[in-house]
Symmetry: C2
Subunit: 318 residues, 2 copies
């Protein structure tokens, strides 16, 4: 029995939700090369750092980043407790359904809504809020919980990498405590392997009941160049594999690619209007333009979702 076990394990085909196409083949070749002891491409387990963007790479990001949808729902839920929000013209417009005025405030208005719903409370309280929303909210198109709108092929890729000794990290523009509210349960990525945008937090002694309070001041914007910067600051090691889907991932891919030895750079290309969404550029969410040009020029792996993925979501039929 024991002698049969390794054979059986090996026989289980990895990445079943991927079609036998160029992306799957590139992934498997890469992993086999860097894990083969004695080969020129071998990478010791301690250095097998894999980084993944989240929005649009591990789960969907349309019609808007799910965290933004959370912020709007939270804004509605919390408004009765915050009469002072009416003193701000932008927030007042949103409260009164004046979409035109609110839309005119642009990114500034969005940041205000994120600010008032995400800060001024402890990390623990914020994560309880995020979990309550994730447990009840439904996506406007699929009517599924957001945590089910994760990509089955990417879940399999994360598991396949971990089975091959990789440490899988999320490196996303999303706020870090929001992602940690579901990353461990959904992606099997523990909180300490989630890197994101951060607000300045402050420790308060509270006479023996210490708390860490989230302030509205941005500490780190984890997008674009902010991604390799946080990788260097927090991981302290250059990844050997990076996966993204938009121009916000370009610098992370460049930083990974510029390391010595074999590296894998991947992009999810949203080409599947029927099963997910189809967009690249121009797109207000997840714009993929410069990174696509560089991927083609440098022979990075571009995953054509409509062709390479046998299933998109876990709830899709086999």
């Amino acid at each position: 029995m024991l002698a049969l076990w390794p054979t059986f394990m090996y026989a289980a085909e990895p990445l079943p939700a991927w079609n036998d196409g160029p992306a799957k083949s590139a992934i498997v070749s890469f992993v086999e090369a860097v894990t083969k002891e004695g080969s020129d491409d071998f990478v010791p387990a301690a250095e097998r750092i894999a980084v993944f963007d989240n929005d649009g790479t591990l789960w969907s990001e349309q019609p808007a980043y799910f965290q933004i949808l959370f912020a709007f729902d939270e804004f509605k839920r919390l408004a009765p407790q915050h009469p002072e929000w009416k003193n701000d013209p932008t927030l007042k417009a949103l409260l009164e359904g004046d979409k035109k005025t609110f839309a005119a405030s642009g990114e500034n208005g969005l940041l205000k809504v994120v600010g008032v719903t995400h800060t001024g409370i402890s990390t623990e309280q914020f994560q309880a809020n995020a979990r309550a929303w994730l447990a009840s909210a439904k996506h406007p198109k699929t009517q599924k919980p957001y945590t089910e709108m994760v990509f089955q092929p990417m879940l399999e890729l994360l598991a396949y990498l971990r089975a091959n000794g990789f440490k899988t990290y999320i490196v996303s523009g999303g706020e870090v405590a929001f992602m940690r509210a579901f990353a461990e349960a959904v992606y099997r990525v523990p909180p300490e392997q989630v890197i994101g945008t951060t607000f300045v937090s402050q420790f308060h002694d509270n006479e023996g009941q210490p708390a860490i309070l989230r302030t509205p001041k941005l500490a780190h914007n984890n997008d674009g160049p902010g991604k390799p910067e946080s990788i260097d600051a927090i991981i302290g090691r250059r990844p050997v594999l990076a996966f993204g889907n938009s121009d916000g991932d370009l610098q992370m891919l460049q930083w990974t690619a510029a390391g010595k030895g074999k590296r894998f750079m991947g992009l999810v290309h949203h080409t599947d209007a029927a099963r997910e969404f189809a967009y690249d550029h121009p797109s207000p969410i997840g714009q993929l333009d410069k990174a696509l040009t560089q991927a083609t020029a440098n022979k990075w792996t571009v995953v054509d979702m409509s062709k390479e993925w046998r299933r998109v979501y876990p709830f899709d039929k086999e």
Copy 2:
């Protein structure tokens, strides 16, 4: 043969450099309690986060933080390449051996020396500098390399915790890239488990040769309240064990202690002038005053180095 192996492993007494005193007993009891499945105190492996201060907790910190000694040596080494340093009165005084003027500049002068030696270069270049220094510099009292002035009992404690499923982190006021230059080789703590003070870094595209440049702007001062703040931001989970040696570790210990369930809070008390150093308060380096009072009041473990440690450094005779 195989049947004997586990017995043999188990029989190896943990923590041989610790005397059979209250500290060793408290550590072993804690670890046995939180790792015993089914017990009320059981902590799942994923939540076994242990955090350690570095200076004065894992290695010595007298007559000054070793990183400060590195900064002064680097200042001397690099000065010929930086004629512009003479334009700064404080740096000029140091260059010309005018100790009185330099000393009068206080902490500001120290920060200037750290700034000019630690920033303006890439992380990789900085770590190469740190490694070169660590490979050649000798401690003024012992004449040993600094990386040998680590505490044998703490090396054993780190290994003992890891063998029991803990993830061991360094959470120190030292600059993070400096600590990463030796933490993996000396403590077996990988770069991604080293948290420290950080400078703002900037990603530069460099026309296809991307680099991350260290700027002199402080990003995070990882001392005092900065420790639980970075634990929350980077680890995202409250530790179950924390070890420090000074008032700069107080908030980290408080934050750990305030968690639910069994926790371990420890302080190294430097009581050993013969084998290491003896100091607590007042002390310009590693002041231990408020944290000692709170440790006594809250029954945290205070390690009396002279009594509890059979050996201090790995090079001490058995």
